[in-house]
Symmetry: C2
Subunit: 206 residues, 2 copies
């Protein structure tokens, strides 16, 4: 198909497609003449994925590039590959390295992980994100939130078990990576929306 | 304290403080002369809260304004107030109203809520967010994610029960609203970071 048809099939405007092509997020079509290229279903699929990562997961173009790089990497085994996916799209650090509360947040997280017995290493980028959130909540005096930290962690462990069970079910290797990225990045806003709906339900019953 | 001291106590630069003052996010200090104002601990506290909402919760200035308006509202009872907080900082819609998948996402969410027996109404802004996430995941063919939707919802219900138990514990009314906003907005990045750490743990065990 030509670029106009690709635009119709994907719902992405032609100038945006050209931007993604220039930026390398979308691979070039097959040149059929000097000024014309042909695109196929893989291009449609990739465009829909990019739009979902931008619109629903809220990623920047740089974040999309990282996520696509994780999807396109083909060197790892299944476990390593999942690690790659999980590490590939870190949330940027919100606090400076010398923030006075950060060491305390880190120590609280270390205690929590030890108490839960989780096999998790501090080089996971999410470690820093969690330590920052804990430090910020503590700095604002919201100790009642942190008293429930282990409960929150256990609920998210249930989520992680569903995530991994899903990934184990997928046989097609290429699809597996895409799904792991999708489930993580599109699952995030879904989980947060479900949290607010559940809060309404619990609030209505109390 | 004068503005330079307020800057030191809060860790927020003077030009940023002046911007918040002009923008009405921070209330004016008490004028002690034509060009000088005095600030107090409430200003320090409010500045820390604004920075946390921007840096850790990732809110825009408009989002911060909505969150602060919810904190500052004093008209509602405890239950209504929580609803106000939950409704006050909606995630902006990611899909246009006429998106072809949105009605399907909405229908799937209606089925899910019915199956779970949740007392939730579609005017909750999170309803639209959840319907959009479901529609996007479905459009990308990630059905294995949606097969686990009820499981994800139940895990987030556990989170919501902790949220509400925490809120019930707080006696001071002004503090209650601030905590509800904090727990929701700063709790979001914390939960997502815990999800990734838990994924590492489950992955290491499998």
């Amino acid at each position: 198909m030509r670029i106009a048809e690709l635009s119709r099939a994907s719902g992405v405007a032609v100038p945006t497609i050209k931007y993604y092509l220039r930026d390398g997020l979308l691979s070039a079509g097959e040149l059929t003449s000097k000024n014309q290229a042909q695109y196929d279903e893989r291009h449609v699929r990739r465009l829909k994925l990019i739009r979902a990562l931008v619109d629903v997961a809220g990623l920047s173009i740089a974040g999309v590039r990282d996520a696509l790089a994780a999807i396109d990497s083909t060197e790892q085994g299944r476990h390593k590959l999942l690690g790659q996916v999980l590490h590939s799209v870190p949330v940027p650090a919100a606090l400076p390295d010398d923030d006075p509360g950060l060491a305390g947040g880190d120590a609280e997280l270390t205690t929590l992980i030890g108490k839960l017995g989780w096999a998790v290493k501090p080089d996971n980028p999410a470690w820093r994100n969690a330590a920052e959130a804990i430090a910020t909540i503590r700095a604002l005096g919201a100790d009642v939130v942190l008293e429930r930290l282990a409960g929150y962690a256990r609920a998210m462990h249930d989520v992680a078990e569903l995530d991994l069970a899903m990934i184990a079910e997928v046989k097609d290797r290429e699809r597996l990576i895409e799904l792991a990225v999708l489930a993580t990045l599109l699952g995030d806003p879904l989980l947060l929306a479900l949290r607010r709906l559940a809060e309404e339900d619990v609030s209505a019953r109390s």
